[in-house]
Point group: D2
Chain length 360, copies 4
Amino acid sequence: MIIHMAEGATPDQTQRVIDRIARDYGLRCETIVSDTTIIGVKGIAAVIDEGRITELPGVERVIRITVKYKDASRAFHHEDTVVNVNGVKIGGENLTIFGGPCAIESEQQALDSARMSKAAGINVLRAFVDKSRTSPYDYRGLELSKGLEIAAAMKADTGLPIVSELIDLRHLDAFLKAGIDIIQVGARSAQYSPLLEELSRVDVPIVFKHGFGNDMNEWLSGAAYIMSGLDREGRSVSHGNRNVILCYRGIKSFEPETRFGADIAMIPLVRMKSHLPLIADPSHSSGDRRLVERVAYGFIAAGAHGIEFDIHSNPAEALCDGKQAVGAEAGRIIANMKAIHSMLAGVGIETGASTPVAAR
Amino acid sequence: MIIHMAEGATPDQTQRVIDRIARDYGLRCETIVSDTTIIGVKGIAAVIDEGRITELPGVERVIRITVKYKDASRAFHHEDTVVNVNGVKIGGENLTIFGGPCAIESEQQALDSARMSKAAGINVLRAFVDKSRTSPYDYRGLELSKGLEIAAAMKADTGLPIVSELIDLRHLDAFLKAGIDIIQVGARSAQYSPLLEELSRVDVPIVFKHGFGNDMNEWLSGAAYIMSGLDREGRSVSHGNRNVILCYRGIKSFEPETRFGADIAMIPLVRMKSHLPLIADPSHSSGDRRLVERVAYGFIAAGAHGIEFDIHSNPAEALCDGKQAVGAEAGRIIANMKAIHSMLAGVGIETGASTPVAAR
Amino acid sequence: MIIHMAEGATPDQTQRVIDRIARDYGLRCETIVSDTTIIGVKGIAAVIDEGRITELPGVERVIRITVKYKDASRAFHHEDTVVNVNGVKIGGENLTIFGGPCAIESEQQALDSARMSKAAGINVLRAFVDKSRTSPYDYRGLELSKGLEIAAAMKADTGLPIVSELIDLRHLDAFLKAGIDIIQVGARSAQYSPLLEELSRVDVPIVFKHGFGNDMNEWLSGAAYIMSGLDREGRSVSHGNRNVILCYRGIKSFEPETRFGADIAMIPLVRMKSHLPLIADPSHSSGDRRLVERVAYGFIAAGAHGIEFDIHSNPAEALCDGKQAVGAEAGRIIANMKAIHSMLAGVGIETGASTPVAAR
Amino acid sequence: MIIHMAEGATPDQTQRVIDRIARDYGLRCETIVSDTTIIGVKGIAAVIDEGRITELPGVERVIRITVKYKDASRAFHHEDTVVNVNGVKIGGENLTIFGGPCAIESEQQALDSARMSKAAGINVLRAFVDKSRTSPYDYRGLELSKGLEIAAAMKADTGLPIVSELIDLRHLDAFLKAGIDIIQVGARSAQYSPLLEELSRVDVPIVFKHGFGNDMNEWLSGAAYIMSGLDREGRSVSHGNRNVILCYRGIKSFEPETRFGADIAMIPLVRMKSHLPLIADPSHSSGDRRLVERVAYGFIAAGAHGIEFDIHSNPAEALCDGKQAVGAEAGRIIANMKAIHSMLAGVGIETGASTPVAAR
């Protein structure tokens, strides 16, 4: 951590910053004095709450060197993490396809879509019971126990592991009892700390999306929330949940013609900064089935570990986000993604360190 | 609602859209046929889930005319709503100042800050027990029951109504029992629907912030969530909570030199579009006490019903966001806001209809 | 074009809008009357200046159906445009690689980089004489005649067509005389209309970037400026320059960790909306050579017709943007891009109409 | 300037950075070595082109301490600059109102609008001959000599100084000969360096807007371009043009309901960072006359030195941006702005240094 003191800051103010860091965090500092003063903190500054330093008199700016999302950072865990779900591997050199209907609407629609998705070649099946929506007038899913029952039927019918979004933290036990294999955290819950804290106490793998107003640092800090197992007083109350799979879905931008701005550079960047598996969601990022196929190819070519996308047996009758679901073309899309992934297997990913991961 | 059919859409596809709207919503349509076809839906289309129309074959774009956030919209409720909290009025022609420490850190700091805030002239006191933070390593507040006890002491000591942010929905009863007068929903919870649904079942006034990735439509739709009292199946399960106070706090922008982009045009725009009281938060939007004063004046001059800002008895020792808190200068700032508000009392606010509200 | 009249707009106001459109543009209208009135304009509304309609009393919103960037739109020119430069084809089913140093710094550096770029397999060589910079203190290029001389030497030495950015419109003749084969318009000039008007009067192919604050509509409208050959009074003063190659380079976003947000969905979207060749610039969008390779693969997999990227014989000594230039690895990157492009040759691109282009 | 070396950077790489800074800029460095190495550059680093440092092997990040826009920075010129135009003072403790029609459309409309603007109380009259537009089909203004003739008539008729936007740099002499008192640089030209260089060679005051994709640093760097008088080789070729008036007009944001996001915090921030006069444009930022009045009050209360806004004698017949022009209400708006400005005269502006400017 570097602290840049304002022009005109007094030596006393500088000393107070140094003393505060020693007192609260046990870390030593050095300074470079020119027109203004630069303080460098020695050692791991991940735990420093920069807000508490910024507020001190004379401080102009606090610049973080050590990333704050320590548990999610490749700097502290160099090798790729691989999450294993009933034999399906996510991360590392694996390509994993998550697919299925945006939401469970009825048993028939769910099973039809599940079978179509399995036939297309997916590895993990979407079985979404709850839907987080912007407006109270939009479809929010079937009654919970009915939804979970259909989810279990989808799993039994296909033999595939299932992923389902948990919105209400009070439903966690019901989800686990129903046999949900992977819990997804959606954009609107991505910074809801009570939910993240609940998920840090279980071991079930988490697909963790970022909010559409979140930057990379906030996203990886949310992952660290789930992984660190700290309570509100900062005590370790569990070993944390290490099985986090990141899912990129784009952010708000000023371009009105695309639903979200899915910055392709985020794929190699997040792989460089984090050891966690990284998938991407071309359906929710683009919001238009005419774009989904090419966006999916782009994500894979850029280094994503997989894709999660909407597949619906009858998109025109979908109760939720049918505009973005693909139908029978899913098989062809998955085959092309596999071909791109294979072809680029030897390329590796830049880790910022001397040798790229997985390139050998 | 207007539905624009794609070039080359067939008459059958157009008819299917018209039939679907008749079947699902009981509304009639008319068309204008030129190179492409335009369908106009007659009547109140607030309840139409446009996703279900967009997905139909041949549909190019669905354009909403009737706003979706019906309960929060001035189109359906022309007069300004005034929320009354123990005699303190918020909205209409009133100017209301919310202030106090960013977070309760200790009894001494809380009471000192509360007294300083009261002396400065605030109307509602911040008594924040929980803090929603981006990183698990940042300060998240005292243990809950201790925090609520201090909040109650702040209320008793000053005689002012208190506002406190509710993050964990399981704490709602404890908040109400502790005498919290106004519950605040923060940026990171603003689209967490289980929390909004809980708050729709009580009558306590809500200060409702938007997420920093939310646009106006999402913000007012969140307010409608609280106000409408619908459950997930869309049934009215309560009369809803009509005591919603909007709080603007700026959104993410590409400008790195300000913490959030607080678009000044949002103040008159939201007042035009909604009948709800609108306050603004210059502390969290700007993040820098050197900017807070002038930003606060800007908000009031632009038509806000009030301000919520951080006042700390000793900003340099604050555990949370001390950089943005003002100290002894709060009194002067409040006096100037009152003077601006009085001076512009006769100006009124544009409502988009023939006569401005409150201008007479 | 659809005109949505405000609530409370009078029949006279509606009639005035209809009359104005008839008088100024000779187009007929129909209306749908419900709670509010919808006016639909029949026929091609590309030439309507919506600002002149929006301002009429009673108008709430003007919604454009026919795109405004007519000459650049696929709706008016269904087949892909292929630009031919000395036998190098750009667009359609071709993959074209533009590469070379960010700027010409010296004859030696320019020739070394040119040879390295040729050996790597590029099709068009960057020979950039002028640099548009944000700060007056940054490197802006060699003296013009010296720079153009070196550019000509790069062309002679490699036998490749060369592309060079024209910033000062007064240098156009000098560029053409020096044998520049393709003129590039950069982000900072992308909405400078006098430059676009000059370029509409020549036939030399143009690589047209968008500004980092521009959306798709503004970008394609800029292309239409060059293609349409209209003067300021709206008269056709030339046949326009049809040889426009679009180059995507990302926009400003709130993410601080990437230089620009390069929305991958823009690649298939712009190909769907426009018939013009579309390349992308992974060097300037990501700004970091560690990301360039994967971003380039993403763009090609998403359907770009090619890439323009910085190749420098000695990145660490570059006077301009050396951080983003690749060196000897350029050959491998180009080979992989070709393999991705070949593999996806049969996929085609969605055009929004019944059959995708180039898929057969 | 601080240079943060990457983890694993070698001592040789660190030394090379230090040597490069000594060789190219004559500045000395000190280091702090911990897990990584921090290099601090001693002395004024405004002239360092950070791109040339960033590219050196082992460099992780370059952090600028001294601002780059030196001539525009308050750090190098503490007192407010006041620009004097024929006795009208802009900046410091003065409030200056720029107003008039968005564009000159005819002699009658121009003179009517000019007289209405004068009667309303403006200090500087808009006499806009050229219009920079996004689409080639939009109104771009009358023929130049006719437009300038009318501009001169507006000046003669009202006796007010006139401001006019210069788009085509080849028209500069014609503008000066026609008696234009202040030249405006618009959003689409704000980073077009050949224009900025031309304007650095004259003394006529410049109203300098930022592009809608520009951040504060780019904006003030553009101002420094005009002020510094450097040519492309970095040589001082003139004393530069010190008469720059900044004009804030908002940036692109993801909010679709306002035309641009006009961040109110930018007003006190830019006043803190720069000594130049700062006005703001509520018409072009909000794009809606129903918002202009309150946005204007917000800008003045936040500390702007004035406003530039569109006043039209007959907004409904305007050929350009009539939706945003105010009519007869201009007089009331100006009177209220003056009252707000007077009332806050004693408040001063935070300069970041020990004593605020103009507060005394």
